[in-house]
């Protein structure tokens, strides 16, 4: 099987290795000298620079004219239709709809609080100094609070989950599924490396099956098969069904990353722990997993970024996530057809999360590497 661990570089996302060009190494030239060498160093280089500038001059001004100069920043859809450029007034008018979709407008403070709470938890999780048991409890309490807030169990009126939508749904599905998939993945990774043959075979079958099929198929299983497979045809909520299947799906991908971490631990560690008389679970808990997980945290962050992008597939089964909310916003009869603006706006939100996440993952890799060297 092609797995991540026999592929160098598969676990890293960014350019952390230096350029192979000799000569520029170790010498820190002043900025303008580097610029001149990088842009006009050789005749070939100058030609590339000029060609690139020409291409830019051809593409950038029309885009700027559309996005800035001819754009409508405020007003009605009629004014937008009259102007040639982008209609940012649409985004301003539809901001609340894109964020919270069909949630009752009078109760928008609830999804707003949910987003704030989840962002605060994410920010705290990003800082290694908060990595202790309390954070786990905070997440459990936070998710429970978010769910109760959205459903309105304690603060009536209740809102059924088919009216939930927008950013809170995207963030909730993402965090909850990732959170539950991680312990599952650790179990799967340990099972795949087990010397019990049947356990190993079962783990391999599950992981490879999940990794072979597209996420859309998994969502269809959640939509079509899962309702049939529960006793007496009890109808579980669509969002929860999707979350169950997504959790299982992501756990297979996470398990491969965790397994790569386990393989990176030299066998001497396990042997030494065994010599101390520790049983299997104590060895894993005290010796192997802390080291293995530490090495793969950056890779898990990268996977989490991919998962956030993948939550947009919820639109396929009609759950109104952020992307679907943006699309629905552009089908409003009074603001019909401003798809490009809606897509650009949510693209910017996704980009902010994912680009930030990938930079964070690079920083974390350096931080953890430095911490390891300090011992």
């Amino acid at each position: 099987m092609t797995t991540l661990d026999n592929i160098p570089g598969a676990l890293s996302r960014g350019p952390e290795t230096p350029e192979p060009e000799a000569g520029s190494r170790n010498v820190r030239l002043p900025l303008w000298r580097r610029l001149r060498a990088g842009l006009f160093g050789t005749p070939g280089n100058t030609a590339i620079t000029l060609a690139t500038l020409l291409a830019l001059a051809w593409t950038v001004p029309p885009f700027l004219r559309w996005a800035v100069i001819d754009a409508t920043w405020s007003g009605t859809s009629e004014e937008c239709a009259a102007a040639a450029g982008a209609c940012w007034a649409f985004v301003a008018a539809k901001f609340r709809f894109i964020s919270f979709a069909f949630y009752p407008p009078a109760l928008h403070w609830r999804p707003f609080l949910v987003v704030v709470l989840l962002l605060a938890l994410l920010a705290a999780t990003a800082l290694p100094r908060f990595w202790r048991r309390g954070l786990l409890l905070a997440w459990l309490a936070g998710i429970a609070a978010c769910w109760l807030l959205m459903a309105g169990t304690l603060t009536p009126p209740p809102v059924p989950s088919n009216q939930w939508g927008g950013l809170p749904v995207t963030l909730l599905v993402w965090t909850v599924c990732f959170g539950i998939a991680t312990p599952l993945a650790i179990g799967l990774a340990l099972a795949r490396r087990s010397d019990m043959r049947s356990v190993k075979v079962l783990a391999i079958a599950f992981i490879e099956l999940m990794r072979a099929i597209p996420m859309v198929a998994i969502l269809y299983v959640a939509m079509l098969i899962l309702p049939m497979a529960v006793p007496d045809g009890q109808l579980i909520d669509k969002t929860i069904r999707a979350m169950v299947m997504i959790t299982l799906f992501w756990s297979a991908y996470l398990a491969e990353v965790v397994r790569a971490g386990l393989q990176a631990i030299p066998p001497g560690q396990d042997e030494a722990a065994m010599a101390l008389g520790l049983g299997y679970w104590r060895r894993m808990q005290l010796v192997i997993l802390p080291q293995a997980l530490r090495t793969v945290v950056p890779a898990m962050v990268n996977l989490a970024i991919g998962f956030l992008l993948a939550t947009s597939l919820l639109a396929v089964i009609g759950i109104v996530d952020l992307l679907n909310a943006a699309r629905a916003a552009a089908t409003d009869p009074s603001w019909l057809g401003f798809y490009d603006e809606a897509y650009l706006f949510v693209a910017a939100i996704y980009f902010a999360f994912c680009f930030g996440g990938s930079r964070y993952s690079m920083w974390l890799e350096r931080y953890l590497g430095a911490a390891k060297e300090r011992g």
Binding site: N6, P8, G38, T49, R197, V199, A212, I213, A310, S358
Partner: protein, 394 residues
């Protein structure tokens, strides 16, 4: 965890089976039984539900006639053909977009990856920006964007042709198709012969280790010239069926639908970023010492790249690119969201019209598992081959 068995296995076949099976027999039996029980329970429930809503389980429905049309087909299909045939149409559509996507994304990705390594600051910065934007936004969002772009093309009768041959319209992209006039029956050998010749050349050149890019290209040109001469000698004239505006529509040429265009462009762009990164990582994985050693042998940059760096980089690049291809094939299933009738889309329609969701999804999963396992197998064979050819410490 540890592969080193502390207790030596007893000799004989029973001991060997026990060593293969591993320790803790009771735990293992309990695990297997628990998994089987879970599946039995789920299966039982599913069977009960199907019975309750009046659906007979089984694959008999595949032979029934499907009462839906498929918007885009490579082989003729009409409502009334069987479900199995509809799925085949869907599978062909999936394979079509996946194959074309893999080819185009490789071309674009390698170009971008090399542009990023060119050492020109402006170009490298642009490439970085492209990669970050493409990589950090969802594929489905990009597909929606491409769909809205193809919808924004003018209707056929207002479309301005590019180079008098290609029309970008909201009904699809029209471009010229090559046609062979006066082709006698059974004249396939006119094309088959040069192709076979090229295949033979590749095989011999490879066996003698004398295959280079230049020789390959020259031979390809020679075979093309041979084919053209053979065709001309047998009274076949090669022309182009150029699309022209006729009334309200465009006639002639080949058409690709807006959905196919959007899906193909979307997949190509999304995965080109991944492939550009893979190419960069692969080339950078070749140590600086390799460059220095090659330079001290008097090689110039192109030679070092061709003879030293790329062969080693390919060891890193090939498995990564293969898994990108698999991801692209899997992600082509997003077609269902933009109305391109791929396998997933056809299977979804089948499940909804027949109610045989369980069987339909089993087929879907089976197809993707087959694709994945066969590519993984080919990859393992390749890995063993490159590993054998002395990959000493770098």
């Amino acid at each position: 965890m540890s592969e080193t068995g502390l207790t030596p296995a007893a000799p004989g076949p029973a001991g060997r089976i026990r060593a293969w099976w591993g320790p803790r027999i009771v735990t293992q039996i309990v695990t297997v039984c628990a998994v089987l029980a879970l599946f039995w329970l789920l299966g039982q429930n599913t069977a009960t539900t199907m019975e309750r809503i009046g659906i007979a389980p089984g694959f008999g429905f595949l032979g029934h006639s499907a009462n839906f049309e498929i918007g885009e087909t490579s082989i003729p299909f009409s409502a009334g053909n069987t479900y199995a045939y509809a799925m085949l149409v869907g599978l062909i559509n999936t394979v079509k977009v996946a194959l074309l996507g893999c080819i185009l994304t490789t071309i674009l990705g390698v170009t971008i990856g090399i542009a990023g390594l060119s050492g020109n600051l402006l170009l490298a910065g642009l490439v970085r920006g492209y990669i970050e934007i493409v990589r950090n936004t969802p594929l489905l969002l990009q597909l929606f964007f491409w769909v809205s772009l193809t919808k924004a093309f003018p209707p056929p009768r207002q479309a301005a042709p590019l180079f008098d041959a290609v029309f970008l319209t909201n009904r699809g992209v029209f471009f010229p198709a090559p046609i062979f006039d006066g082709m006698p029956d059974g004249a396939g050998w006119l094309i088959g012969l040069p192709l076979a010749g090229y295949g033979l050349f590749l095989w011999f050149a490879r066996r003698r280790g004398a295959l280079t890019l230049r020789r390959g290209l020259l031979a390809a040109l020679a075979c093309l010239a041979l084919a053209a001469a053979l065709l001309a000698g047998n009274g076949v004239s090669i022309g182009f069926d150029v699309p022209v505006l006729a009334g309200f529509n465009i006639r002639g040429g080949v058409t690709i639908t807006p959905e196919f265009t959007a899906l193909l462009v979307g997949l190509t762009v999304k995965f080109s970023a991944a492939i550009a990164e893979i190419v960069r990582a692969g080339i950078q994985s070749v140590g600086q010492g390799q460059w220095e050693a090659a330079r001290s042998l008097g090689m110039h940059r192109g030679q070092i790249m061709r003879l030293i760096v790329i062969p080693q980089a390919l060891r890193v690049i090939t498995p990564l690119i293969t898994s990108s291809y698999l991801d692209l094939t899997k992600d082509s299933s997003l077609a269902v969201a933009i109305g391109y009738p791929d396998l997933v889309s056809v299977i979804n329609t089948t499940a909804n019209t027949t109610g045989q969701a369980f069987e339909a999804l089993i087929i879907l999963i089976g197809v993707f598992v087959t694709i994945n396992l066969s590519v993984s197998y080919a990859m393992n064979v390749y890995n063993r081959r490159v590993a054998l050819r002395g990959s000493g410490p770098r």
